[in-house]
Symmetry: C2
Subunit: 155 residues, 2 copies
């Protein structure tokens, strides 16, 4: 094996290990960032839920459960906690009284923005030192990954 292809193998292996490690770590540092913030009563999972509800404002409970791939029962349990803690609102639907629409309280939106800011910082660091063309290329790799995920999911 020549030293050139050896380099490439190293890059491959590094990326492989990285893809496995990084996501675990991101969950972990999100948790520790929250512990350091003013929102101490919240777990990483709960932030994930607040993020999803913030992103999909006024969706129904069933829609959010589907997006998060949680059972309705599990979502109900999580909503009770997040409502009690004051991050999420259940909004009765006037047209259809079976439906509950979900939204964030102002405290929930504060958490949403804090979490979003942290993620923006993460992406900035991910892309540190790259020019626009290079960033576009990295984006393309993420597109590849999502395509692969979609393919496998569809099987």
């Amino acid at each position: 094996m020549n030293s050139q292809s050896n380099e490439i193998k190293k890059d491959y292996d590094f990326i492989n290990e990285s893809l496995i490690n990084v996501y675990d770590s991101i969950m972990r540092i999100e948790e520790s960032e929250i512990r350091r913030s003013r929102f101490k009563d919240i777990t990483a999972k709960e932030v994930h839920l607040v993020h999803t509800i913030g992103l999909h404002d006024r969706k129904t409970t069933s829609q959010v459960a589907h997006i998060l791939k949680l059972s309705k029962g599990t979502l109900t349990a999580n909503l009770n906690t997040l409502e009690r803690k004051g991050y999420v609102m259940r909004i009765a639907n006037q047209e259809d009284h079976r439906i509950i629409n979900l939204g964030l309280t102002s405290k929930g939106r504060l958490l949403y923005r804090a979490h979003d800011a942290f993620h923006k910082l993460l992406v900035q660091r991910f892309l540190k030192g790259f020019d626009n063309d290079e960033i576009h290329l990295i984006k393309q790799a993420m597109v590849n990954l999502e395509e692969f995920i979609d393919e496998v999911s569809a099987k």
Copy 2:
């Protein structure tokens, strides 16, 4: 805002959303790949454990617990299941009788290699269409990310 910087913002936003989504999805497709394979009695978490034990052969229970950031009690519980299912071996240490070294059975190694092959495929698809320089660049972005993670973890 000109169209150039708008493009870049789009790339940023896409990468941001992607980084959040992809982890969840990878866990999910790993689970569904396992269900389709001959190793149907295994969860994604358990594969993760088998992967770690395979990667760090003959490490002690405490070392593996530390690597996985699990309590020793939790690891013991998981080891019991994986030993019962025939993927993992506890190996008594001859020098120090308190220590248990962990290893994979041949069935465990089969699972390890199947899982590894799936990850290699994932990385191939991630890097599809890029030349060596571009792959090196993408690797550098992963290095950036790990550096950021290490920094935040150390705080």
